[in-house]
């Protein structure tokens, strides 16, 4: 973690999540008084059983889900109903989805060019230059003119990462980015994520990959029923968990 391309870790909160709550219309409580601070350059891995609210937490961070109460501040911008603020946050926060969500009617190049041209107002040449750089980074330059359906799952997810990076985000959110992949393709995607973490990108990662959490994360958050059960460094979390519930969860997934 020497090369800090995205700025050094600092002590102040880069993302401040203050007592956010969210209940879905069907009565399911996804988040309840959830509070955390994420530092610049920090890699936070969020784990927990299904239905614990980890994906909802991630989706609240860029406003994909609205919160019922509490506040979220990203890089000094308050995420509220103000459309301008919201747009700023959407530009600064990149997101990678479980189902990739590439645009099926566009080539890989156009998928990555699109937001650069429409949102960042770049010319086609400028956008394409950056796109090719990013495709080199995720190691898939030869597929620039292919359509998403012609790619494997792992390749699609790497393109999706490149597409999010093209907006030069300050934070990257990964929502179970490897869960829909065949086992042999998980490695190539995790590799790209590790590289990003090494460059100092601020990352919030919801995953079931404990290896990734152990190796790459600065902090692990274990949550259940919309609350943080336990939070700490990977070393602490995997080797000396305090809570009984954490131990039970770990014993289930690590055997």
């Amino acid at each position: 973690m020497q090369d800090k391309q995205f700025g050094a870790k600092s002590s102040f909160g880069f993302i401040t999540v203050d007592r956010i709550s969210k209940t879905f219309p069907n009565g399911v409580v996804a988040l309840s008084e959830f509070t955390t601070h994420i530092l610049r350059g920090e890699v936070v891995v969020v784990i927990g059983p299904s239905g614990s609210g980890k994906s909802t937490f991630l989706r609240c961070l860029n406003g994909l889900e609205d919160i019922d109460s509490g506040s979220i501040v990203v890089d000094g911008i308050v995420l509220d109903d103000n459309k301008k603020n919201r747009l700023e946050i959407r530009k600064e926060v990149g997101m990678v989805f479980q189902q990739f969500n590439l645009f099926p009617h566009m080539t890989v190049r156009d998928n990555i060019n699109l937001a650069q041209r429409l949102v960042r107002k770049k010319t086609r040449a400028e956008a394409t230059e950056m796109t090719m750089d990013l495709l080199r980074k995720v190691n898939i330059t030869e597929k620039a003119d292919a359509f998403p359906a012609q790619l494997s799952g792992g390749q699609q997810q790497r393109v999706a990462i490149a597409r999010a990076l093209a907006m030069m985000p300050k934070v990257m959110l990964f929502d179970e980015a490897t869960s829909a992949l065949d086992p042999e393709m998980i490695g190539e995607v995790l590799e790209v994520m590790k590289t990003l973490a090494g460059e100092g990108m601020t990352m919030v990662v919801v995953t079931h990959e404990m290896g990734f959490a152990r190796e790459v994360s600065d902090r692990v958050i274990f949550m259940e029923a919309g609350k943080i059960v336990e939070s700490g460094t990977a070393e602490h979390f995997f080797n000396h968990p305090r809570e009984e519930r954490t131990r039970a969860f770990l014993s289930q997934i690590l055997t």
Partner: protein, 275 residues
Amino acid sequence: MNSLSQKARIKIRFFQNPSPLIDILKYLAVILAVIWLISAGTEKLGYNWQWYRVPRYIFTFEDGHLAAGPLIQGLMVTFQISGISLLLSFAIGLTAALFRLSDSRAARFLARCYLEMIRNTPLMVQLFFIYFVLGPVLGIERFFSAVLALSLFEGAYASEIFRAGIVSIHKGQWEAAYSLGLSRFNTYRCILLPQAIRRILPPLTSQGISLIKDSALVSIIAVYDLTMQGQVIIAETFLTFELWFTIAAIYLAVNVTLSVLVNLMEDHLGVQASP
């Protein structure tokens, strides 16, 4: 199947997969029966077929030049009305669909009112209303009354098709566009509509064909389209059977051509292949 005799099995296979020759024979038999029925019926009526008098209403010779007869002139009016209405109805339909899907309660209400009002009243009443009530008030002439009525009518149905197409696009597409910072307008323009249009092309074609057929109704406000021209000629010549057959054949030819063209376009766009 084991208990069935060899003969029975052949019989079953025969009824499941009869040879194409059998199909053709059945088809011819049906056609012959229909022709026999009509000719027997008209004979009983004492109808005097005069097909030779029809071509002059399709094409006429003037000074050695081939000129369009009244039926073709009427067809051109039908084309004009249908063409303009088609474009307008798709524009109205898309707008209404976007209103229905918008966050604004007022826009959704407005679109809903439009849809229910148009869908639950007869096109003929709408035509009369626009021509006799709105026409004099707003100073709309005959032709544009017809275009307006047809566009509003077909637009209501097109809006439901557009809405279904947009809603059918996976939510993840919208979410990806959102998290990239795309505006709502650009999300529709670049992501949702290009994908939706591939899916809704088949029902939209049906709607277009309906529009051409419904355009026959404009004859009731005396717009000289294909149907109106036919009625005029029949009034003069009493060639009732010949002309209605001819007019039906012209509509059929136009709409079949349209279907085939859209089919080709679907193949080109890869409608079947889209996920």
